[in-house]
């Protein structure tokens, strides 16, 4: 109700702004004119002469010129008597009284949301917080660790959370610190390697690989490290080596190991299509999540890959991985879009274009 009252008040004020001058009649006002400017200019010359800024002869010439302009302006002035037109004024008044509210309603009605109240932060805060946001908890722990960087346990708790939040670079730092203050272990090295790979958009970089190798050196049976070393081999194009690593894992594994299906799937993949894989490491990281979490995570990784490729489009492998990911996610439109972008990105480089086309053929898409 209050709102409508305010609207009405504002409308009345606006209409008043139009009606007011109309009601004031047409008595001539002391408006400015050109003649006034030229008269001032003539005064200015006198002042300049007395201040010694211009010479007498220059002043004389200037006076002559300005006087000419003054005469011309005075002529103009006389030509134009002011009139008044009652009918036009009535029309203007009607326009303000009817037109203004009509325009206002015509625009406001479809665009505005008059029923929606305000939701300032202060008001929202009074509602009970259902869950304290994870971010602020993380921030508290981080704050604590800034002040007590030697708290090894803190780092080991924080690191996996950061990785799950997608803050991979910070996760890498946290895992490093965890190793520094908690001591080295195969498990921590493998986690670190995983975070590095995730930070690189799912690619097992040389750096990540070094961490996995260190983990294997500490514990030859470390599952995660072995799996990722296989993945590294696969990404390098050494499928046979990848297959042998994974086969060895399966051979040693207890029959009820939860990661068995994952490795088996990977094995099938290297045995079958030689094309680069969808980011399996994401799946690995997500193996203990529920279905929806997992798909969000995969989606976010795919998005990261897409944005990385937007910045640097030279990575043919990356493009292939992106296209395939979209197909797997059941999004053929996006896959086509990515395909077009990939073509555009590598169009200038015939060698890369050839690689791209070949890869696409292997994916079952015609080049």
């Amino acid at each position: 109700m209050m709102l409508w009252f305010v609207f009405a008040l504002m409308t009345v004020a606006a209409i008043f702004a139009v009606l007011w001058p109309l009601s004031r009649g047409s008595r001539p006002q002391n408006d400015g004119s050109e003649a006034a400017v030229y008269k001032d200019q003539l005064d200015e010359i006198d002042r300049d002469v007395s201040a010694g800024l211009i010479g007498v002869s220059e002043a004389q010439a200037a006076r002559v010129e300005i006087s000419r302009r003054l005469l011309a302006a005075a002529d103009n002035q006389r030509e134009l008597p002011s009139g008044s037109n009652i009918r036009l004024r009535r029309a203007a008044a009607v326009m303000a009284l009817v037109g203004l509210p009509v325009v206002a309603v015509a625009f406001y009605y479809p665009l505005g949301s008059p029923r929606l109240g305000d939701f300032p932060l202060a008001q929202r805060d009074r509602r009970p917080a259902t869950t304290q946001p994870l971010d602020s908890l993380v921030a508290q722990v981080e704050q604590h660790l800034e002040n007590n960087p030697a708290d090894g346990r803190g780092w080991s708790v924080l690191a996996p959370v950061l990785a799950r939040l997608g803050r991979y670079d910070d996760a890498v730092r946290a895992f490093h610190n965890s190793i520094t203050y908690n001591g080295d272990s195969a498990e921590r090295r493998a986690d670190l390697g995983e975070a590095i790979a995730a930070a690189a958009g799912g690619v097992v970089t040389a750096e990540a690989k070094a961490e996995f190798e260190r983990a294997i050196a500490l514990n030859a049976d470390d599952v995660k490290a072995s799996y990722f070393l296989g993945l590294a081999a696969e990404q390098d194009g050494r499928s046979a080596e990848a297959a042998s690593i994974w086969r060895a894992m399966l051979a040693k594994a207890p029959p009820n190991a939860p990661w068995r299906p994952l490795v088996q799937a990977a094995l099938v993949r290297v045995g079958g299509s030689p094309a680069p894989a969808l980011s399996d490491e994401a799946v690995a990281a997500a193996k203990d999540m529920n279905e929806s979490d997992r798909s969000t995570m995969i989606r976010s990784m795919v998005d990261r890959l897409a944005s990385r490729l937007k910045q640097n489009g030279d990575d043919v492998e990356g493009w292939l991985r992106l296209v395939k990911a979209y197909m797997v996610m059941g999004d053929p439109d996006k896959a086509k879009g990515a395909l077009a972008e990939a073509r555009q990105a590598v169009a200038k480089d015939p060698e890369r274009l050839r690689q791209l086309n070949e890869g696409l053929k292997n994916l079952g898409l015609d080049g």
Partner: protein, 660 residues
């Protein structure tokens, strides 16, 4: 209620603008005083409603009302208060609202302070102003409405683009818009003059203060933007010939030309038709700038969002206003009376030369900015036109202009004496030569071009000073008289001296920075020392820290000169969680007009940090120059006196007077 009231106020402002754009015109046609006066009250009411609307949006941002889409998309409850406020125009919708607010502000100011204008001229000016305003209100309401709502407000906003979370955002856009939009007044005056078919020296007197205000703000806005880019983007560059920068430079060049041709018109009643054209062009270039930045044609820091309907809408506004005004010009310009005559060598002639160079320079920037876009539209090829093109085209045009700058003020009106002016500039020329010789000797082996360019800059500055000395008769009359004359000299003449000297000062800064800039790029570990330009910078410590809505890595450097500790510098790298973006905060250490500049790069796994360190000699002069120019502009603006250009009488006339 605040959001809806703000929305409704904006709609009412549109309604008022529609009335303001029609009724006064009818009034002027039928010479009805009351109808013409409608322009005034509607302009003021429009200003009040837009201001209320803008205040409403600011309030919504400050109290983080995420039920408003614009606030949700660009704000965050943890953001410091100042960025909550500046964030209002740190996005497309809000910045367009600021644009129309400033448009309404200028309209309102004309309505309030325009008592010295003839009634019909004021009615026409305000009506034209309302055409522009109506177009932009429609644009905002239809395509970029900042007051759209969400029924179920989210808990947290998406935060402002971290690069924009800087004090620069509080200053740069408002100033730039005051400049851009300020030129709408000279545009409206020009269109009003064309409609009325009357123009004379008095017109220039009325337009001058508005143009000057716009020019001052545009100058400061561009300089501020350049300084902001310099310290925020972390590359240590201050001008990139980026299309968005060019978009602001073009109206500046045209506006500078306009300012000078207005002087000729006010004082000498000449160059009238040309001045009208320049007024139209200057505002057209402002609109073009708005189009380039706001339509998403260009992707840069400034393109907050891209949306084809917006682009098409602005393009439409652009075509209607530029096409319409130029057609009106073509149709009516011949009806305007031609003005006074003058000899080629005269103050007027010098100002025409200035106009030619400035507009040509503007044209080269125009071509360099729009050619790549046109090419992409037509052939689909992407090319980038960068610094080399502009250095080869813009540079050679500015060089003769700089040589000509000191001559202008020394020439007499109507007919001048070039030789006499040259003699009076001897002192300045000698100073320039000495500067060249000294620099040459000092930097032997360096770039041969730099000492010459600095010599030119010294010539411009010394030329401005010798103009001053000439006017007050320094060294010719006793010192007391000279001081008295200096005091009596119009502030507008002081303004000329300062503005011209500012150009020279900026040139010195530009040449020194580009020629003798030294840099150190490398990875540093804690307690490593980087030597640069005689300074030693030691990396003391690297810390992690928490800000209100970001985390940052702060490096601490101690700067030493000859082993003496000068100061500590703390560059940092901020990570904003909400947007997942990083910004670099460069550390600056100012020594006189020179600066040391440290910006952090990536951290390697082994703890080393990539750093870029620059020593930039006299870099601050680049921005001090424009500040000086703006100061000159303000001096001139504060001078309420009339401008009279007394012509130098022809010889025969003088003979005649002597005989009397």
């Amino acid at each position: 209620m605040i959001a809806e009231a703000g929305h409704y106020a904006l709609v009412l402002a549109l309604g008022l603008a529609l009335i303001q754009s029609t009724v006064p015109l009818l009034g002027a046609r039928w010479r009805d005083v009351a109808l013409m006066n409608v322009a005034r009250s509607t302009a003021i009411a429009q200003l009040i409603f837009v201001a209320a609307s803008f205040a409403a949006l600011v309030t919504l941002h400050v109290c983080s009302d995420f039920s408003v889409v614009n606030v949700f998309e660009n704000s965050h409850s943890m953001k410091p208060l100042i960025y909550k406020i500046t964030g209002v125009w740190g996005n497309h919708e809000g910045s367009m609202l600021l644009w129309v607010s400033i448009l309404a502000l200028f309209g309102g100011l004309v309505a309030i302070f325009g008592n010295n204008l003839p009634l019909s001229l004021r009615a026409h000016v305000l009506a034209v102003q309302a055409w522009v305003a109506s177009a932009f209100y429609l644009f905002i309401l239809i395509t970029s409405n900042p007051f759209l709502r969400i029924a179920n407000p989210p808990i947290e906003g998406r935060d402002l683009n971290p690069v924009l979370q800087d004090i620069g955002l509080a200053v740069h856009p408002p100033m730039l818009y005051l400049g851009y939009v300020g030129f709408s007044i000279s545009f409206s005056f020009a269109i009003a003059a064309l409609i009325e078919g009357r123009i004379d020296a008095a017109w220039a007197r009325w337009v001058r203060p508005w143009t000057l205000v716009a020019w001052i703000f545009l100058t400061l806005g561009i300089a501020m933007g350049s300084y902001w880019a310099y310290y925020e983007l972390g590359w240590g560059g201050w001008w990139f010939w980026d299309p968005v920068e060019n978009a602001s430079l073009m109206p500046w060049l045209a506006g500078t030309a306009l300012l000078h041709s207005l002087v000729v018109m006010e004082k000498r009643n000449a160059l009238k038709v040309w001045t009208i054209l320049l007024s139209i062009l200057t505002f057209s270039l402002s609109l073009l700038g708005t189009f380039l930045v706001r339509s998403g044609v260009l992707t840069s820091v400034h393109a907050f969002a891209t949306d084809p309907t917006r682009g098409v809408f602005i393009l439409l506004i652009l075509c209607v206003f530029i096409g319409g005004s130029l057609s009106l010009y073509a149709w009516r310009a011949s009806a305007l009376k031609q003005g006074g005559l003058f000899a080629p060598i005269s103050r007027e002639g010098a100002l025409v030369l200035n106009n030619l160079f400035l507009t040509s320079a503007c044209a080269t920037v125009f071509v360099g900015t729009l050619y790549p876009l046109a090419l992409e539209v037509i052939t689909g090829d992407k090319i980038s036109v960068g610094a080399p093109f502009f250095n080869l085209t813009f540079g050679p045009l500015f060089l003769p202009l700089m040589i000509a700058v000191p001559f202008g003020p020394l020439l007499a009106w109507k007919r001048g004496d070039l030789l006499g002016a040259a003699q009076r500039l001897m002192g300045a020329g000698v100073a320039a030569l000495i500067a060249v010789a000294v620099l040459w000797a000092w930097t032997r082996g360096g770039s041969a071009f730099a000492p010459l360019a600095i010599g030119l800059a010294v010539f411009v500055i010394a030329g401005a000073l010798s103009d001053l000395a000439e006017r007050i008769g320094l060294f010719r009359v006793p010192l007391g008289t000279a001081v008295r004359r200096a005091r009596g000299m119009p502030r507008s003449s002081w303004g000329t001296v300062f503005a011209h000297a500012g150009v020279g000062v900026a040139l010195i800064g530009i040449v020194c920075e580009t020629t003798w800039n030294s840099e150190y790029i490398g990875s540093m570990k804690i307690s490593d020392v980087a030597p640069i330009a005689g300074y030693e910078l030691r990396l003391d410590d690297v810390k992690q820290r928490h800000g209100p809505n970001y985390r940052e890595m702060v490096a601490q450097f101690s700067a030493r000169l000859d082993g003496r500790l000068l100061d500590t510098m703390t560059p940092s790298k901020r990570t904003f969680t909400t947007r997942g973006a990083t910004t670099t905060e460069a550390a600056l250490l100012t020594r006189g007009a020179s600066q040391l500049y440290i910006s952090l790069g990536d951290t390697a796994r082994d703890g080393t940090i990539a750093v870029r360190i620059y020593h930039k000699p006299l870099v601050l002069l680049i921005w001090f120059g424009p500040v000086l120019m703006a100061f000159g502009g303000m001096l001139s603006l504060s001078d309420r006196r009339l401008r009279v250009g007394a012509p130098k009488p022809a010889k025969s006339l003088r003979g005649l007077q002597a005989a009397e």
